[in-house]
Symmetry: C2
Subunit: 197 residues, 2 copies
Amino acid sequence: MDDEEASQRVLDAAEALFYERGLQSVGIDDIRSASGVSLKRLYRCFHSKQELVTAYLDRTDRRWRAALADYVRSAADHPRDAILAVFDWLGLWFAEPGFRGCAFINAHGELGEVSPAVAAATRRHKEALLAYLTQLAEQAVPGAGRALANQLLLVVEGSIVTAAVHGASGAASAGRAAAAALLDAAEMSRTARLHRD
Amino acid sequence: MDDEEASQRVLDAAEALFYERGLQSVGIDDIRSASGVSLKRLYRCFHSKQELVTAYLDRTDRRWRAALADYVRSAADHPRDAILAVFDWLGLWFAEPGFRGCAFINAHGELGEVSPAVAAATRRHKEALLAYLTQLAEQAVPGAGRALANQLLLVVEGSIVTAAVHGASGAASAGRAAAAALLDAAEMSRTARLHRD
DNA sequence: TTCCTAAGAGAACGGCCGTTCTCTAGGGTA
DNA sequence: TACCCTAGAGAACGGCCGTTCTCTTAGGAA
């Protein structure tokens, strides 16, 4: 086993444990025994727990956003459907066993004030999500994308949090319904704007 | 200083520290020195850290919901305004120095899987919030309160999370705009329903 | 004043955690 | 075979944390 594979194994174990139990509740030794990588090699690949946390958050960010974009791309042809497909994907995610909300919101709530690295990773993730939603919203309602995306972001975050606390039931479909209503409102105000000018 | 006053001081210190830094980052000794209450008395008033965490969450729940309801009651006369006033109050809260999101979402993200007491307190708080929103929504759009409240809850949670991560800017006003659009949609579908029947 | 109670201060204890160090064993090379 | 390098296992270390215990001191009752 070379360092590359060891890093992957460590990161896989860290992801599972950090996401399930939180950052501080998981010790390096838990990750060591779950990954089967020796402590010496673990510390050669990741120089500290902090570095491992950062790597966990970064990889989760990339994978999560890629999975969302892949689903939306393959599930929707029209811009409006793309936005609704976001909530379909959320529903699938919420129903996965072991779903426990947004890794970034959880990490931020736990260590956002204590660890600047965690706060920065969370901000990056949410800004990238907002940028993606803005792109979808701008395609659906040209000229109103920014404002609509800001609202959609709230609904997405709210769905995730509510699903995490209450269980999956209904959070995704309520989010989808809300998104549809917000889309309608944005489209209506756009046509009104066009008629006025 | 009697036990009653000591309990209050301890709870005040615990609230400030837990909310700012999270549950696990704050030690009993931090609370002891911040409150000026001796360790012996502290453990007489609260038999463990867990009990103190629970007391902190319970008091925060009561105070937070009372502050929201008081503001809404005094700021709005009509049901629709009451719902919008929720977001005005959120905007004031977000702007407070030291705002760091929802104490329950933070606690749940940190210890929701590890501590059943934290998970239960979070669920109670969010259910009470949903009940309150349902009551407001039912007054605003009779017959559609439940569905509207589910959507409003998502927007409220999303606003809080977004304000915590991104800073206060805009989360409350975007939430207010989204709530207005959702209210409009619910009212429109209600009048359509009335006309049809 | 003398005794008793209770409270405060903080030492002590057991345990865990992140990180480093040591010791041992094994595999490649001459 | 003899040597060296590396990696793994896990002990060791320093530090913190929740909780309990001890010692001292002050105040009230007789």
